[in-house]
Amino acid sequence: MMEAVVDGLGMLVTTPIALAAGGGVAWGILGGALPGISPSISMALLLPFTYGMEPHSAIVLLAATYVGAEYGGSIPAILIHTPGTNAAAATLLDGYPMKLQGRGGEALGISLYSGVIGGFIGLLVLMVLTRPLADLALRFTPMSYFALGVLGLGVIASLAGPSLLKGLAAVLLGLMVATVGSDPVSGVPRFTFGQPDLLDGVAPILVMVGLFAVSELFLQASREVWNRASSASARIRWPGARMRRRLLKPQLIGSAVGTVEGVIPGAGGTIAAFLSYNEARRWSRAPEEFGRGSPEGIAAPETANNAVAATALVPLLSFGIPGSNSAAVLLGGFLVHGLLPGPQLFDENADAVVGLYTGLFVANLSLLVIGGAALPVCLWLVNRPRPILMAFIYALILSGIYSINGSLFDLGLTLAAGMAGVVLRVLGFPLLPAVLGVVLGSLVESNYRRSLLLSGGAHSIFLEDPAAVVLLSIAALLVSGSVIARIRSGSKQEHA
């Protein structure tokens, strides 16, 4: 690990990583502060602009955006009772009451301070866990890779929404999109309608921007306006020594919950934030203060969701499986630059991993400074008329997607993906499994067919590979466990 630290310090002076980290944090805070613009949407908006960038800086820019957005979401939650991100809904429970008591600056300070602590702990976990898991994955055969793809899709389909059936259907829809283009074995065109633009398949970046950013923008068209923020509250108050001691326990709880939830694909920051809030209340000396302006009620969820911002990258870096929307967009960033996350990344592009660790370190550090400085800008942005704000975001998406390849065809595909995302959302289908289907479809199909080529068409080859057997068994156990749990709970969630 010491070697990685030395390499990382070297990168700070030779590449513009520090600049990318600061820029990403600033963009993330602004995006997170806008209600409806989640961390993944902030990242997706930025994705087209990373094309022309040096790969390390581009990856750091996206990862730092994730870090900044997790804090940014707490700003409107505390000041205007509207969470900027889903995870910040837990921060609102005590943040807004504190603001009503005239302690808005203190609440923002606790949120920022706890977020930075959570970010550093998450980064440490990421650095310790990723390499051993990647080494394990290096021994994988095509059969194990197929099984790993099935496991990733199965876990996320069962965790990423209230309905298992719809989650699995969303995975399949994504897998269908992944079959567009040349067949991986024979090279025969499939579903291309004679369009040369489709021979290389549908680029995941277009699907991601369409499903996450465009669909959200389209749905914002009929949402209610949010409250206005007072510029009088635009000052952060850092917690004193006594308060810092009080926050230690909820921060430890938040870090532990954030670590576990981040490493599990599909769980994510929102679940981590609410779980840690509940645990912090359970272990607090003053549980009666929760919901009425308890500083601990801010510290626990903010530590947790910022820890998740780093630990959610563990399955992405070690296995190439993104466990959350934001990790999926970051995967898009890797793919844009010809980097494939997974065990090979550590051997073939180890500097990309070191660059990412260094970038995340600088991002968390710069969050302390930029978090305070960006507050007045966030308030200004939140107070802009919503129609103008949405129109500018739409224009930014249209321009950004065109700028990737100078292709109006790409723009059409992104808009189509956006409308498909709207229909899926309205009908209650989760989007993350669909995106993962698009991203992992090629891995699943090509390794399945390579395995069958090795065995002469015998499916028993999957049972002869120990890793494949273990991974497929875990997938079967998790999906069947999810089915049984849903049947036991009276299928209430299935109808949500």
């Binding site: 074995v185 919503r386 129109a391 321009s399 009908l427 109808h495």
Partner: protein, 158 residues
Amino acid sequence: MPKDLAGAILLLLVAAGYYALAGGINPSALDDGVGAAGIPVIYAALVAAMGLALAARVAAARWLGRAAPRLADAESRRLLGAAVMLGIGVAYVAVVTFLGYPLAIAGVLAGAALYQGERPGWRLVRIALGGSATFWLFFDGALRLDMPSGFWPALWCG
């Protein structure tokens, strides 16, 4: 209509269309045992099965007298709103090569803001033109990207 029923119809339609297209994939001398159409046919069958399962769930809910969530009027309005926003994007794609990026993006800014509730007037015109100039300077000027210039150069060059 119950949401799950709409979802089931959607999945069955997608499965049928995809299966029909998979049937048109040409065989190749380089094909393996599965073939280029093999996996798509499996996906089509699985999506159809998911659609049927969703439909069965709606039928079971009705049979048991349970209320299934329905598509609310508000959600239909959201779909309509999304379709209008999509229309603005499609119109942009259709006209940008002819009108040029600055004018077309000004149209997007004005159209999207107007649809989302901004009042028509000089303020809207100023915002659309100012925003368009900013975008053009950023993409074409600062990032040196070749955004569509439309008929303007031909007009100036005769």
